[in-house]
Subunit: 344 residues, 4 copies
């Protein structure tokens, strides 16, 4: 039984960590912090946890957190994690950080896209995408959990890219996310009368997940250039990425699909659909799966389209964080993550 | 390890049984039938079950079902269950039936509200509301699993009624259900452009769940009369009942609440909220809990309002069916039902 | 051509007034005020008005407003209107006020339910429900535009009440409103992940529209007592009230309906559906109609249920305000309000 | 006063034609046909038209239709229009056809993408996009009203293409449509529990609107190749197209925007937003406007992204059809189309 803590547990990713960990057989949640809600039972903020987890938020005290925990999740926002994580690492605790603060090899890129100075540029994390970096994650002191969009886009493109079957300079990732991705603070774009019956492109061509996507994909080809546009759609949970590519050689849908089947053969959380089958959000809602499908080839134009779908709060955030924890602590990678998606 | 079967497994309640049973430690799904989908893997109909349950639908053959199963769920529609259930009982299998066919003590009431002749009037089931009939369910050959609306309305009213604190002839149950309650067959009222941005009262004052509600409540007072109106709201899952009553004596909200706390003290799936707290659907979505709250007293008018909320497919159908099975087979009542609600 | 102004034009009711008045043939919008947005074109706040209305918000200056306007709409919140309206009346301008500040005959009731002291208790408005008070509205200096819930509930009950066909002490009004009724300020309950897939009862048995409803209905019977519970449903626009009553004598649905047909015979904005037909929100969305239907009689229990539906921002607010203005200024009552509902 | 008819008036585009024409000052609806609903008042199918339009469906009789009408809208499905339109043209009636049957210069392309033989290959229509073909529409006997996706995609790309500022072989049009675009027949993908909380790519790389888009864009550059993927999103009305292009020369957002301002300077229904402003569906919902915005330039990658938004049933279908009719009959192009969008 390992003891884990959560820093910043009142947001959606914090709540989702608690939902998953409450049913994890190898782990106990030793503490969960929230400045704003210190002293209140967690179910006052996450009503689904009533009678499920008898725990109250506490104010953050990193010494006390470090004493009690083998591993800590930082579910703190960008800019806060860079301050908190070093304090935890110094105290000898392993960390999974869910923010964007430690995902970049090149701090200058971070600073440009996140619009702030990095206060701990010397701290480096392992990029927590188990399908690419499982070995490194095992031994990592700090895992930088990937962004929701990058998880879907990277996993959706790698098999095509590494096969050199597509032109790396012509990639369009058009993504649609549920609104929980914006967090639990009400704002104008999440106000129901604005968000319902709406589709809204945002941070067009300037979203901070773009360089994260390119950083990872450029390991397969330095010429990778992505046109990435995220959209908010009237969905609570779920994220889908439609990936438009230019083939470098003629392929049929089955050949395309075969690249995915092979690459993800032993992956517990990647499901490769049939060619022509398009992923549905309800098939992943609440679960840690990523579904990849479509594999549609337009022969006349030499194009291929792949679609990937995840639950942005699970495989796109807290579920993947627990998957990383399982790898770090030597548990079965699926432990705590066997929950079946809620369909419909 | 018990073996169970599902008759009529392609609908939403069938899919939900499979979702729950796939993670049940004491039970194996021996067979699931569907005339329409015989031969197809279950995940072609329930996409959330891909890689979760490697099972295919088979055509119904009651001899073969009975041979292999200790207990069978009938997730068949009203009118079909009355034909299937006797065949199973004859073959010595215990049954949990999710239709309305065996819920009524008085067959004439059934025939009037369901508009069809009952072909097995001599077969009697135990009404499968564990909070009221746990003892009888233990030994039952046939459990008639309650309707979704009755589950919420009955559990929301019993503590008030048995305390004789309300006028039994003035009860209004105004209920709102998610659209999955209408099943998985597309129809005009479930067509997205009709169902979204809509609230629709239906079968006003004539819904077949009205006599089921009154039958059970009249065990507490023969004068019970309910004005029951169900509505369809643009929600996939979830059902809430707003219960308006006339107090027979002055009470404050805490006293009202105390009746519920006491009556449901040992119930694993009933959560009594604080007075003034109103149940939220996300707190029960995907879980087997019923949340009961509000306990609002209007002193000037002598009224009290209680609100109850469930997931219509879980506590309102398949979760409760598994809870009944657990009782019948002597398992822990919570086994397979510890899944935490998906919030947000 | 009359000149009108709008005080507090940046909210939803302000926007809706502008949408309607932009196509009104007898009226010109002389000014629209907003402290927060002074100087900005209206289409920056109400994007539907781009190229429709070339007008900018100005800071409120009541002298200048009064000089330029024959009539002013106050779309200010409760508590603000009571300060603004007297200033306008003093300057000789006629006013339609959309807040609750001037709807009550008894200021003590206002103060109790709105939880604030009234600063202009001597100012009295005519209650702006044209179907009941058309004559008084014609000559009024100040019209207090009704609340959205009261509009639906009162118009849905009056024909039954005045016929003395129902027990005035047993009335339940269970209402469901779209979220635009909560205004345009983001808050926790309007945050999409909370508001979608949700039904939420609120201010149970204590909503400030309850005394407004009873005040008007008690003119027909002093014994009227209403159990009123409003709910928020995941709908942008639209409001429906399900009205449960106890009949004092046996009636069939056609007789019930006939009471409505007769009472509303000459009303331009009241549509009486067939018995058994239930109003749909899409039939009124964006229009000034109220649809009334169901007329369901439960003979066995002596109950009748009527359902009324409106667009909460039109007949429930700004449309009715323009209807009142048309009456006050002697225009055709339908002018500017002939827009057809948006279905689907 | 012109007399117009509608063939196939029971679907969504038929209903929308009636909604618009009911308030058109120069036109009277002489007849509306529907085999299925012949004899029923239109408001039984389109509930928003109750008391707005006193008209009943009639069975189609082309002689009688031709006698009474100056112009006829065919709101019939693909495959039916090709049979009906020639009958009307023979009888001397001008026609606006809303199906895809007459949009193609090359019948072979039609037959390939629509999967059926064309029975009237000799009949040619003018492509009814007024912004490109106003002069031809004026005199046309038959106008082929554009598809919803092509309207948004073509108008969103033409200013860039004709300026030769983008690479015509690298164009991705990723589009998202409300579900009313699928018509009013319930089907599996439009069933609320499937369609809500969902984003679904469909007919990936094979949608019949792709060749329509390329046909029109190739008039500006024969090398145009589009990767087009449509998605269904949980929205009733509204369609947005995100257009990803590769710039052939360095441009800033204002320069890009200027191309649009100039090209659409005199267009009554095209609104060009500010650079950085993204179109919102509520700004066009129920109206005939197309809003075009974003104009986001990614200098580093040489990409530009433009977003266009329409109401799929108005500018994407019936509104544009009435706009075409206005041009054909010599009315003001805006007549009947001044309705302001419903926001929120």
């Amino acid at each position: 039984m390992a003891a884990v803590g959560i820093i910043g547990g009142s947001g959606y990713t914090g709540g989702e960590l608690l939902r998953i960990l409450a049913r994890h057989s190898q782990v106990e949640v030793a503490c969960v912090t929230s400045r704003e809600h210190a002293g209140r039972p967690v179910h006052k903020v996450h009503p689904n946890l009533r009678r499920v987890l008898e725990l109250s938020f506490e104010a953050p005290d990193y010494d006390r957190v470090a004493e009690r925990c083998d591993l800590v999740f930082c579910a703190t926002p960008h800019g806060v994690s860079m301050q908190v994580v070093p304090l935890l690492l110094e105290r000898g605790v392993r960390v999974v950080d869910l923010s964007g603060d430690f995902r970049f090899g090149d701090v200058a890129v971070y600073e440009r896209y996140y619009g702030r100075k990095h206060v701990a540029p010397e701290v480096r994390g392992v990029y927590g995408l188990p399908e690419l970096y499982r070995k490194e994650i095992e031994k990592a002191e700090l895992v930088a959990n990937p962004g929701c969009y990058p998880t879907a886009v990277i996993l959706g493109l790698v098999p095509l890219l590494r096969g050199r079957t597509i032109d790396p300079s012509f990639i369009v990732a058009d993504a649609k996310s549920g609104i929980s991705g914006a967090g639990n603070r009400p704002r104008e774009t999440t106000h129901f009368p604005n968000a319902a019956e709406s589709v809204l492109a945002y941070r067009v061509a300037s979203h901070q997940h773009l360089p994260e996507i390119e950083q990872e994909l450029q390991r397969f080809s330095s010429e990778v250039r992505v046109s990435f546009v995220p959209h908010i759609v009237p969905v609570i949970r779920g994220l889908t990425a439609t990936l438009h590519c230019q083939l470098t050689r003629s392929m049929d849908p089955e050949e395309v699909r075969e690249l995915y089947v092979e690459f993800y053969r032993d992956e517990p959380f990647v499901r490769v659909l049939e060619a022509g089958e398009v992923p549905r959000l309800s098939a992943v809602r609440g679960s840690n799966f990523i579904d990849i499908g479509a594999f549609a080839v337009d022969e006349e134009r030499g194009r291929v389209v792949v679609v990937a779908a995840i639950d942005n709060l699970v495989k796109g955030a807290s579920g993947q964080a627990v998957q990383n924890m399982n790898i770090m602590l030597g548990f079965s990678e699926e432990e705590g993550l066997r929950g079946v998606a809620i369909h419909p």
